[in-house]
Amino acid sequence: MTATALPTTTAPVQRGVPALGGFSLTFLQLETRRLLRNRRTLVFSLVMPPAFFFLFGGSAQSGESAGRGNVSAYIMISLMVYGAMLATTSAGASVAVERAQGWSRQLRLTPLDPVAYMATKALSALVLGAMSIATVMVAGAVGGASMPAWAWVVAALVAWVGAMVFAAFGLFMGYLLPSENVMQLLGPALALLAFLGGLFVPLDLLGSTFRSIAQFTPAYGVGALARLPLTGDPMSWGALANVVVWTAVFVTGAVLRFRRDTARV
């Protein structure tokens, strides 16, 4: 590369404060690219969920009918929710790494508004969540999941929008835990929440006491709502309340921790 002499006097750049608190699609795109570069995040979000489908969705009874489709579709929906959970949590929790590396502090030397930062984090989490859901759907299509076309679309959309709970959960944990390896803690925690939320084993198969407790855990609501298109059950307002309340709890937690984080320096 040839070194070109730079002009010694150039017109000064214009001054101004960016619109939308510094939110930009370039930022979102680079954030998403960073997520896809992280091998652990990739395995968690895009490899494990479809692999689980092939492990559990291809068993003997998977061809049996369930609601408007088959058991295989039921398992696929559960794993779409699980995959989106993992993807959005790891994306949100990446703030822990950024805090540890001093990047959050560096961003405070730019016009970026903290709200725009958190919005970008949440959106990149949803992009990764969508990719995770798509991989599970491909696995489902290949592995024999069957239900009406509209049910595929609605179940996927509900799993995706509901993953907002876990984007907020990830952000909260990212601000709560000081570790660079926050996902080593959160991976097992998510598996437990997925189990309690009935994503691995239908809660009907478990004891009634256990079931009534499980209904109040954060993965239950989104799982129950995402299965409605398949099962044809009536709308569950309790499940919807579960999603709304847990999202509010995690967003509040993240905002409170975030305030403390910036006030500390």
């Binding site: 960016p18 680079l30 690219r33 016009p111």
Partner: protein, 331 residues
């Protein structure tokens, strides 16, 4: 223009600057910052005018980084005020009028150099082009390298390129060459200097005397969270142009020390056991007085350098990895 004022306290000398009529880039007034019981910054006043290259020089723990954090709006003072180009520091940062190169951290290892700059650029409303700042910081050749794979010196130039993006009127550098080898420090300052010729205001914190001397046109010496001396490198050196007279004086006490202090040209008197140390502009007069009017003996006269000014004014011995013979300015 500038006037030399010697204040009443025997060990502290202040060169007070006259007030120039140029634009004020940064104004710090009565800044105080405490962390628990520790007062990191203790009533610091500083005015930086546009176009100045100011070295913020002081030993570790002098309050340099704490002051810079407040100048950038990263933390708020317990009392006092910070104005950057007539507004608050957060507003100045948001408008891109002030930017900074921090000591460490602040980079994402999984992005490339060019991506880091593109990301930073997209957060501002107007910036220089990424290509231009890569060139100015001398890192065009490593644009596609992951930040995590860059050396410490290269990472520091990435931070410098990031700071250049908004084309700031004031650039603040917090110990920018800490941990770099001699060559890395020289390269960094060459890049910095090539840019600073464009009339940008620069404030840099350092504990390297040579850096302050070589690159600043004004040195602000801080110690204990206060400004203890402020002037051009030449003025700061002039403060230490005097000599150090050392003698053994058994039984010398505070009374004797005060007598010495009263001699013309004496700046400071220190007693260490039986040894008396006198810093004075006129060492001959002190030596004559000691040998003829007192029982002092074993008299020694040594010249002082910037190192001694540093010790005298900050009360800290100055240490750098590549400066030998730190205390002995004996010639």
């Amino acid at each position: 223009m500038t006037s030399l004022q010697v204040d009443a306290s025997p060990s502290r000398t202040t060169v007070a600057r006259g007030t120039p009529s140029r634009t004020v880039a940064a104004e710090l007034r009565g800044l105080v910052k405490r962390f628990g019981g520790v007062t990191a910054v203790d009533g610091l006043d500083l005015t930086v005018t546009q176009g100045e290259v100011v070295a913020f020089l002081g030993p570790n723990g002098a309050g340099k980084t704490t002051t810079i954090d407040m100048l950038l709006g990263l933390s708020t003072p317990d009392s006092g005020s910070v104005q950057v180009f007539g507004t608050g520091p957060r507003q100045a940062v948001a408008e891109g009028r002030v930017s900074a190169v921090m000591q460490s951290g602040g980079l994402l290892r999984d992005l490339t150099v060019a991506e880091t700059l593109r990301l930073t650029a997209c957060l501002f409303s107007h910036t220089r082009s990424v290509t231009e700042v890569l060139e100015r910081a001398g890192i065009t050749s490593i644009a596609d390298r992951r930040v995590g794979k860059c050396s410490g010196g290269q990472q520091q130039r990435v931070r410098f390129a990031m700071a250049l993006l908004p084309d700031p009127d004031l650039i603040v550098l917090d110990e920018p060459t800490t941990g770099m080898d001699v060559e890395g420090r020289r390269d960094f300052w060459n890049a910095m200097h090539a840019d600073a010729t464009r009339g940008r205001t620069v404030v840099f914190a350092t504990h390297y005397l040579e850096e302050a001397d070589a690159y600043a046109d004004r040195i602000v010496l801080v110690s204990g969270g206060r400004v203890v001396a402020d002037g051009t490198p030449a003025e700061i050196k002039a403060m230490s142009a005097g000599r150090l007279v050392t003698a053994t004086w058994p039984g010398a006490g505070t009374g004797e020390a005060l007598q010495l202090r009263a001699l013309p040209g004496v700046e400071d008197v220190e007693l260490r056991g039986e040894t008396v140390l006198v810093r004075a502009a006129d060492s001959d007069a002190v030596a004559r007085h000691l040998l003829t009017h007192t029982p002092a003996h074993d008299l020694q006269v040594t010249s002082r350098g910037l190192e001694d000014a540093f010790i005298a004014l900050t009360g800290h011995p100055h240490t750098t990895p590549d400066t030998v013979d730190l205390t002995g300015a004996t010639r």
